[in-house]
Amino acid sequence: MRPTVQHRPGERVRFYGVQRIPVAGDKCRVRVRLDHLSDGSCYVGVAEGPSGLNHELRLAAAATLDALRQLVKAMDLPVRFDLAEVAVFEAFGKRGVMVSIKAAYQNEARSLLGFAPVEEEAARSVAIAVLSATNRFFAVA
């Protein structure tokens, strides 16, 4: 996994890396690791499904949410995240990825949006977009 190095003010959860593993039957498994800076713990989320760019972008989002759910559980935070949509589109003349997440907290549901420019590794961009959408919960990067 490729680590990120920049630390930002207010950051408590950091994206560490994403890994794509081919699986038999034209499928793939995506793993996303997040580091919780407060206590040094890390959480690895996993999602598996069909290969192909669009499928894998969604798998990257699902794996990131899987890691966040583990973190939420560890923090005893009564929040639930469900992935709604992932889309690639053009913004500022470049490709960007947008994720839509349904969050439920204290019996109230909200739709959260996150955005990240698409870089070389699209799955990484998706993970960053998920963290951007949920950053009010975790001060994530």
Binding site: A84, Q106, A116, P117, R136
Partner: protein, 133 residues
């Protein structure tokens, strides 16, 4: 009002007024127990882009609310896109805080007026780096 998550800064309102040939957009933010902070943006009435005007007014208000002399926020770009069948504003902001400059993206679905959407997109971009939400 039901509490979602505690915020250190809260969007209160945006407003747009004509002053001669100029259109002035203001954005007001609230820091609980500290008061309100307002930012303004002016542009010719004939050439007004309410998305950008709301975003620039919010950037000024955020700097005021940050309460430090070394905070700067600049709206580099702002665009309305159609994603998931919804109108969404995406903005690119450069924010300088504690001697470091960050390029930040913010998003907001357009639900009310354009100025409000532009302002909320800037808040979305800056909320973590400026430790305001």
């Amino acid at each position: 009002m039901k509490q979602w998550l505690a915020r250190r800064i809260r969007f209160l309102k945006s407003s747009a007024e004509h002053h001669g040939d100029l259109r002035r957009v203001s954005v007001e933010l609230l820091r609980p127990d500290e008061g309100t902070y307002v930012g303004w943006s002016e542009s010719p009435s004939s050439d007004v882009d309410l998305l950008r005007a709301g975003a620039e007014a919010a950037a000024e208000a955020v700097v005021n609310a940050a309460g430090t002399v070394d905070a700067q926020v600049r709206v580099e770009d702002i665009e309305r896109v159609k994603v998931f069948g919804r109108d969404v504003v995406v903005t690119l902001v450069s924010a300088t805080y504690k001697g470091q400059t960050f390029s930040l993206f913010g998003v907001c679905e357009v639900r009310d007026d354009d100025a409000t959407a532009g302002a909320l997109a800037v808040l979305s971009a800056t909320n973590r780096v400026l430790e305001l939400s």
